[in-house]
Symmetry: D2
Subunit: 461 residues, 4 copies
Amino acid sequence: MCGVFGIYGVPEAAKLAYLGLYALQHRGQESAGIASSDMGKVYSRVAMGLVADIFSPQDLDSLKGSSALGHTRYSTTGSSTIKNAQPIVVDYSHGTMAMAHNGNLTNARQVRDFLEAHGSIFSSTTDTEVLIHLIATSEGNKLIDCIVDALSQIKGAYSLVILTKKKLIGAVDPNNIRPLSLGKKGNGWVLASETCAFDIIDAEYVRPLEPGEIVVIDKDGLKSYKPFKAQKPAKCIFEYVYFSRPDSYIWGNSVQKARKALGAQLAKEFPVKADYVVPVPDSSNSAATGYSGESKIPYEMGIIRNHYIGRTFIEPSQTIRDFGAKIKYNPVKEILKDKKLVLIDDSIVRGTTGKKLVKMLRTVGAKEVHWRISSPPITNSCFYGVDTPTRKELIAAGNSVEKIREFMGVETLGYLSPEGMVKAVGGKMDEYCMACFDGKYPVDSANIQKCISEEKNEEKC
Amino acid sequence: MCGVFGIYGVPEAAKLAYLGLYALQHRGQESAGIASSDMGKVYSRVAMGLVADIFSPQDLDSLKGSSALGHTRYSTTGSSTIKNAQPIVVDYSHGTMAMAHNGNLTNARQVRDFLEAHGSIFSSTTDTEVLIHLIATSEGNKLIDCIVDALSQIKGAYSLVILTKKKLIGAVDPNNIRPLSLGKKGNGWVLASETCAFDIIDAEYVRPLEPGEIVVIDKDGLKSYKPFKAQKPAKCIFEYVYFSRPDSYIWGNSVQKARKALGAQLAKEFPVKADYVVPVPDSSNSAATGYSGESKIPYEMGIIRNHYIGRTFIEPSQTIRDFGAKIKYNPVKEILKDKKLVLIDDSIVRGTTGKKLVKMLRTVGAKEVHWRISSPPITNSCFYGVDTPTRKELIAAGNSVEKIREFMGVETLGYLSPEGMVKAVGGKMDEYCMACFDGKYPVDSANIQKCISEEKNEEKC
Amino acid sequence: MCGVFGIYGVPEAAKLAYLGLYALQHRGQESAGIASSDMGKVYSRVAMGLVADIFSPQDLDSLKGSSALGHTRYSTTGSSTIKNAQPIVVDYSHGTMAMAHNGNLTNARQVRDFLEAHGSIFSSTTDTEVLIHLIATSEGNKLIDCIVDALSQIKGAYSLVILTKKKLIGAVDPNNIRPLSLGKKGNGWVLASETCAFDIIDAEYVRPLEPGEIVVIDKDGLKSYKPFKAQKPAKCIFEYVYFSRPDSYIWGNSVQKARKALGAQLAKEFPVKADYVVPVPDSSNSAATGYSGESKIPYEMGIIRNHYIGRTFIEPSQTIRDFGAKIKYNPVKEILKDKKLVLIDDSIVRGTTGKKLVKMLRTVGAKEVHWRISSPPITNSCFYGVDTPTRKELIAAGNSVEKIREFMGVETLGYLSPEGMVKAVGGKMDEYCMACFDGKYPVDSANIQKCISEEKNEEKC
Amino acid sequence: MCGVFGIYGVPEAAKLAYLGLYALQHRGQESAGIASSDMGKVYSRVAMGLVADIFSPQDLDSLKGSSALGHTRYSTTGSSTIKNAQPIVVDYSHGTMAMAHNGNLTNARQVRDFLEAHGSIFSSTTDTEVLIHLIATSEGNKLIDCIVDALSQIKGAYSLVILTKKKLIGAVDPNNIRPLSLGKKGNGWVLASETCAFDIIDAEYVRPLEPGEIVVIDKDGLKSYKPFKAQKPAKCIFEYVYFSRPDSYIWGNSVQKARKALGAQLAKEFPVKADYVVPVPDSSNSAATGYSGESKIPYEMGIIRNHYIGRTFIEPSQTIRDFGAKIKYNPVKEILKDKKLVLIDDSIVRGTTGKKLVKMLRTVGAKEVHWRISSPPITNSCFYGVDTPTRKELIAAGNSVEKIREFMGVETLGYLSPEGMVKAVGGKMDEYCMACFDGKYPVDSANIQKCISEEKNEEKC
């Protein structure tokens, strides 16, 4: 997952991009970068690490101009290198172009092979570079034509921001798998993965981009294009469940409100008698308040999370019980001892950390642990930008709920139903991508199935 | 404020110290250090920054031995330098000694002047170095005698851990102003400011040190000394209100339990009709659940906190409303709009961030804000180790509650009563230091009053 | 200027590349990089700084395999950025390719425009990237065909080393403007800009590459190709005068021997009565011994050079006489006072440092300074890889020798004649490029003249 | 060995100290530090590494004031740590004091034991800290009294610079073992180990300090004190032979002149028929010109030295012949092949690098190698500040010249005689310390002999 940000027509654009990225930091902590334009030249700086660590005041001063673009990248296995950090900045026939991308292109391998066969060279292993090549090799006259041409050749999920000397462009894929929102800052415009990036810079939220929409912003204002045939939306429901910040709006809806509703629905589907509702902090706090409100069981911060996790954590070679989980979580014995708990979590991926956490709760004397998950079992890998592991690593891919319950060592285990999840979030089943829960890949499905069968999914096609 | 940690008789002692410090990171983020002993030599490494950032695996490997000591230091104005980082490690007549100190010596200036007049040199501006000199210049034969001799000459607050080649020593001042707890790890012993440092290394909590107690741990086991005349305890009640981690026990009591009781008591003293109880995260989360439980007003995470704050944060020169607060907090519009809120905070110091936060709540449409503080007004500086500003900067030192309410722009403002605070925490009024609330300095009061009147309090005497 | 190195078929190839680059460090100190291949995968690391500073043992261990390539880059104005550091490593249709380049392509701008117009994107501002694109877009079947195809489209100076998973390729331009030598290390092969890189790794010098020669080294051994029509060689004579290390052989000849002969010839052309021959260290030491030997005037280290020059040197704001020169040079008063000196220098570019140096000699009491330059006046910019400034900055471009003598404040000034220079180095006038001295550009002359007239020479065409 | 520098009464004092240290960098590359005073406060910065690398412009700006002191430290085994870096800056009864020290105190261990027994604590393992304690514990009223008191208790070699808020003090030991010179810069004063530090800042050389002299510089000007009984001087003759820069004056004499005379004397004592005189660069260049001048054998730069040696040099695990020497030196085959050489070196310590170098000369075809050393055989360790190894590591301590010749594999080997050395340098035998050559320790001899017999000489007593 990644966070993207763009701004046009506002003084100190790079500093605002810096703040915007800071607000989007939860979407990726591996690397960050900013490109800016002063209408004559494009400047950029990209580095590994956290936004607040890698930009000095001098760095920001050197990123001149009133338009800028930024990117934060999530750490994914095997390719954590500066070469893959974004934005990618290149010179091509129409000048200089910087690109920041959130999502994953499912036919990147095929397009890349095609491009290489026609003479393109690649400096990174990212699918984003494929898109840059498609724009550069397009024979369109105007930038918008080249972009439309390029996007028409790719499949998958993308929320893109592109910066040139004179323009800022935002684009989302026809299925709108990843969010991208439009805002206003004075006379200028802002684009961001989530609206929390608008709040920090006092920008006003205007609206989410629509499926397949491309907005081009320049001195003549904003123009919206919808060049592609209308597609059924396939919004990633996991953005509501886990990824986005609760104070953000995505696709026009409040994440916190959705998350509370998920918790309340969970209480309806899996009620239980207990002393406390305890969230796995911080991602499940909102769902836990929802469960608590519906069930009238008191909400309790029974697990404390340590936020000081650094780049490298050093494990002692001797055995410490449940070590990995201990670095992040500590249960509050005084509260939990002899108590029946409803433990709220957003999801279970491999199940290893969760199992350790449950053991920690037992160690401090929890009498009963009723685990409630505010989403259905994850049974499939994501090919649209979320870094889920391969199928065989997903505990729910090969095990029944009862088996998982037993493995976890909890009294009861309840996963929210798909129907309940959609009901809570709002809208209809068929406007969301729920592939990780149901294996129905809404975009480029045949190709993805081929990838899975060929076990090529390490690189996500 | 600082965090201290010591361990004796456990393999990989430095790695466990590292984990212990990591758990105590909230007590100080300016610098950290570890010293270790392999019974023949003392090793050490001290650096500026976070525990998880400054120790590499090689660093920890080079800190050999089965006993170790660690320190995390809080950033205080004007003296943020490696020279003041701890532990202090020196050679003296009895060999090598490392010391880590939490607290503040009130007569350090006088003792330092005396020592300098008698030929001592000082490499740092910390009061801890004064203590080292007193031990080194003591004419006692045994280490314990030198320590007792040294401690008998100083006044103020201290929770100390000392490491020599062969021994680990813990000591707390006769009034027990700062906490220090004793734990057991296998056949070895552990000392820590808070018990959360025991949990992370699977050590067992034994008991808090008692007022004026000194424990000496070596190959013959643990010996406890109480060389000083019994004093009335004066435990810092602010450790319960704000400083300690909720999952810790201090002085034998659960911080989380105390904090919830503070919130419940606050609800009794200052009830109000409202839609939600909203904490200022994360320090007020527990008190907010207490208020919610007592008042039956639902608890709501209405303010989201960004945890990615780095070393240097770069402010845009243009005006962003309430900028400082925005870096840390963002209110959730969807939840707060048109709502009556009980805003729970642990304390108000200068009032500047709080005022900005309230403005942010208004901006997203909060209808009423009823501010509830889970401690009394802070009217005096701390001279025992908490980094409170000078009196004139304390908003409550010169203003009535009504004035503060008006300044903050809230409908109502309620501070917990001193009696209510003690009732919630447990115990009696006279076993706590509440000097920051009532100006009654339990230790070295005449000297402190002189400091205040001479406006020397920048260096805290 | 840059240094290139390649090695094939030798264990620990990257470590040998590291040593080779270390020996070539004088050819460029801005950045350095190594790529290696273990026959299955290509590894690389590139960074700003000195070879001995930027590679850790772990870095070298991660550069696996028995073939490798390295590059050191000279700092040139305006483009000192990691993006321009080499080797460039890309994926293209035939796999992975790394390239290191010494030289300058004179038609890079035109080719780049053409490539961009046909859809290529550029990540750097180097001409080397142009060459990579030409190889990648070539429709040749075999790598050698693609390389020949690419090289046939470019003009200018290049000594290239290319590494793929299975092959190491070396190539020099048809005029052989820059040197590249072939060596043998056990059963493996080595390529380097200068033979001093062979000495440090105990490799044996075989021969220089010939004009237009391409060598392809793989498991079947070395194959030599000469696909281009024979051209008159145009070897850069400045490599002998200044750039190469005296212990190297280039184009089969000893640099030290050539440099001594330049000094001796200078003594013949411009004899003078004096007490000492004093070199400007270290580049003129060899020429000075030659002058001394011919003239029988004693050689004297009358100027001491400080070698500890770091990345950023901080100038005091107050006036120190001849500050810039003082950082590097200090005259030895005891030796120079009241003496008549023959000052030997390899060349005068802008004349500013030299003027300061002469003033320093006067300050310590030199009675007469007879400046002798072991090359003719530099009157023209280099477009083949040496970082000379633009014509208008060259002191000899607009001034007579007498004017320069007057400006420098020396008793006499003698520049070696072109004929004398060639005689000393050996060979004939027309086998060298002497464009910086005579303005006769042997390659792509019309284009260079156009560049100069359009004053585009900042980017060297 | 170390370099010290002090300046008083000159604007931007820290920047001038920075330049001065840069000129003294050859005296120590392990660490460097500067302290400055603006008459009200003392500022300091100390770090590991080269002067030009460790001070940023901001660092220098923060070192305010018109007086400053600097130190560069040589890397010595076992104690390369920031704790031992200088200047040492402490607070004591009279305020703040910074100290930089070149030399070695022979009774440091005894004084340290005494001080520790009386309650002093030590933060470093340097003898310099002992001196600070002695000053701080002195009961003198004025600073000069305390310094005299302290110096009267120590033995050994010291050239000291001390900075307080208001004063700059320079001091040399009564035997004047290490040099310290006085200079003038405008109305201010300068002190430095060597005069090359005056040249770089345009200061004027006044005179060397005299044996046992202390100079105190403050707003009232310079006062000179000679509180100690006159001692026979014992100037380190090795400063002339090797350590100082040739462009410096020490004890009033030119190093370059001395070094040339050493070479000339060597030619008289050990003439030989040969083709070239070849120095081991750069330390023997001057002696080689002296030998060449006397013998009329041409001087030749037959060995090239690489100056880019970085912090960590990575050795390939496979065998490269004479690897260690290759990193630094490369012989010029073209010059040396089939030639008879006089190889000039300043000294032979262990003999390992020299042996490798000779092998390298043979490999390129040198017909005869006649090794000439411009000092006598080193047979004893230095206890006054030069980092010579223990006796048993010194090749000349246990082997005859003929044995060494054989081990080195040279045709002839000639060491300069002690008499010839003194004659060349000037003055009388008994005004120099030549302990490394003759074992006669002029200061604290009994204690040193005890150290040697107890094999405690690792720490140099």
